[in-house]
Amino acid sequence: MKREEVKRTAMNMAFRKIMPMMSLRNRIAFYYTVATAFLIALVFTIIYFMVDHVVYRQFDEELESEITEILRDAHVINHDFIGLSRLMNVDIDDKGDEDEEHEKNEQAEVDIEFIQIVNNKGQIIRKSLNLSRNILAFEPGHSETVYSNSRFRGAPVRQVQLPLVNRNGITEGYLLVAVPLKDAINVLLDLQKVLLLSFPLIILTLFILTRSIAGRSIRPIEKVIATAEKMTQANLDQRIAMPHHHDELYRLSATINDLLDRMHEAFQREKQFTADASHELKTPLAAVKGTLEVLVRKPREREHYETKVQFCLKELNRMASLIDQLLMLARYESSRMNPKIEEIDLSQHLDDVVERMRPLADEKEISFNVEKTGKGRAAADPAMLEMILENIISNAVKYSPAGSSITIAEKHQDHLSMCSITDQGIGIPEEQLHAVFERFYRVDESRSLSTGGFGLGLSIVKKLADLQKITVSVKSAKNKGTTFELTFPSA
């Protein structure tokens, strides 16, 4: 018992070790074959036993009719009792020549019944001639009719044993009738052989077939794997070839391609960002480095030194502010910033930011027009909100023509607090509106030089707004102006 258990555990472990290493096609084929093997084994067993049953029933019927005949000869009607004496005079040999019969019996026992009558002590009282010196196997003690398989002279026979009960209910002896089974047994043996041989063959064929079918049906997966393996950062633009059928594999391929699209896009964006950031940092650095290098090559006038140093300081300040913005962006993007959202006095914050922006606006004689029609309250992180407003308003100032006005409106719409900033500036081309929140985006490269921005302000605005669940939208008409709209989440 223990040993068997050990054996079973060992097999279990081997199974667990092998299964994960098996390829999918082998595993599919294996499971399928095992399941089918059970079914086929069941069907074969049923077939065998049905044939077996049919064959024996036929013999039993033959034996029964033989008994009936003998009893009829003995004048036993229906279920009358049969004493030993009743059968003493019944002819138990087949009609026809005895010798001939005998001969036949010696040669082949075809269609021959052997009949034998024994007393209750097992002593043979009578027997048919064809038994010659042999006797049929007798099992004493049975009080009912027994059908059994037995052997007679080495050959299989079907035999019935009928107890002979007299009037007093005492078993006086037995009537034994047997028919040879040879052909039937051969049929059964052949059937058994065929079934046993064909079983492993069928299973093997089935396994090979299933394996090949499974292999064929998962070939698209292998293609997917091959493509995916070839994929590196450098060739993220490769895509998996779509299968013809719109099946699960089609969906898998589509999903992977979709994922690759998004990865590629994100990767391109990151690459672009890195390139932009490096360009933005290297340009002033190159200017400062070159200017100073040229400056120290020769002794110069005092004023010359001063102007060059002033220029370098200006460039360095620009670099410093770019680095500040980049770091800010990085901090917000890492999402480690937790906004402290609270109910704030929106109109107060608007006033504060407008006051802070006024000196900048005054330089270009731009006026602010603040409209307050809302509740004046919103849910936001006050510091972050002010940074958003500062960025948008300073942008508005930057891109507005001198002498124009900027409208800042605070309102309440659809149960939500909103705030919009509208300038009368140059506007943003419609096709570029979606890109304004991208890092390093500028409406026009050449203009950025005079305005001095890096194109990071609005991406910072977007990040800050996202953190606070504030929706930012932008509308613009070329040469008419741009409107940025903040929609605050419901409190």
Binding site: H279, K282, A286, K289, G290, E293, K298, F311
Partner: protein
């Protein structure tokens, strides 16, 4: 030697112009691709320094157009793009060299000298007869006597010696030694030639510069005696 710089960053264009002019180059600046290409097509420059990312036509495109027009002028890319692909792409577009920002000014000078170097000579030095010129240090020697020249005189002599045994027309001299802002009054050449001749004479290298009447000037390698 006359250079064209196509660069939109005033900070960089500024020090390049200052520094290169101090190195006796005549320098023109274009702040966008379009005007840069126009200048490169209409003037004969000895070298183009092009920033890749300039407004309008990109530096790469300018370089391609210049090459398409059949010009063999050396082109030096000056850019913040620094990936391997960018460098290869730039060089394949027809550039002769590629310098990444930020760069050392001395390195830029050395690379410019490489591009201007005589194909038949291993180093930068120029000579004609007893006269030898070191473009890196701006020293001029007649045998062992050093001759002190003003930047314009040096540039003029350098141009003539670089093109020795060839006639340098007055208009070519103006184009290569003076920058675009110079009013094309070529009589200024005669003034500088006179100064140069005097200085060469006193050092023992007289008669180096010969006048081709009505055309220009020539520096000849003296016949082997």
């Amino acid at each position: 030697m006359r250079l064209l710089i196509i660069e939109d960053e005033p900070g960089i264009a500024g020090f390049l112009k200052d520094g290169l002019e101090e190195e006796y180059f005549a320098v023109d600046i274009a702040s966008d691709g379009r005007s840069g290409l126009d200048l490169a097509m209409t003037n004969e420059y000895d070298l183009l320094i092009i920033d890749w990312m300039v407004p309008g036509i990109s530096g790469i495109e300018v370089c391609r157009q210049v090459r398409k027009a059949g010009s063999l002028v050396p082109v030096l890319f000056l850019t913040a793009k620094d990936t391997l692909e960018d460098v290869v792409f730039g060089l394949d577009a027809g550039a002769n060299d590629y310098i990444k920002k930020p760069f050392a000014f001395e390195e830029l000078l050395a690379r410019i000298r490489v591009q201007l170097r005589d194909k038949n000579q291993g180093d930068d030095s120029l000579s004609a007869g007893d006269l030898s010129i070191n473009p890196a240090t701006h020293q001029v020697f007649c045998n062992v006597n050093e001759i002190t020249l003003t930047p314009k005189e040096f540039a003029l002599l350098e141009y003539l010696v670089r093109n020795k045994d060839r006639v340098c027309t007055r208009s070519r001299i103006i184009e290569h030694v003076w920058d675009i802002h110079f009013d094309s009054d070529t009589s200024v050449i005669d003034v500088y030639i006179t100064f140069l001749r005097k200085k060469l004479e006193s050092a023992g290298c007289g008669n180096m510069i010969q006048t081709i009447r009505g055309v220009g000037y020539i520096v000849r390698e003296p016949e082997m005696r």
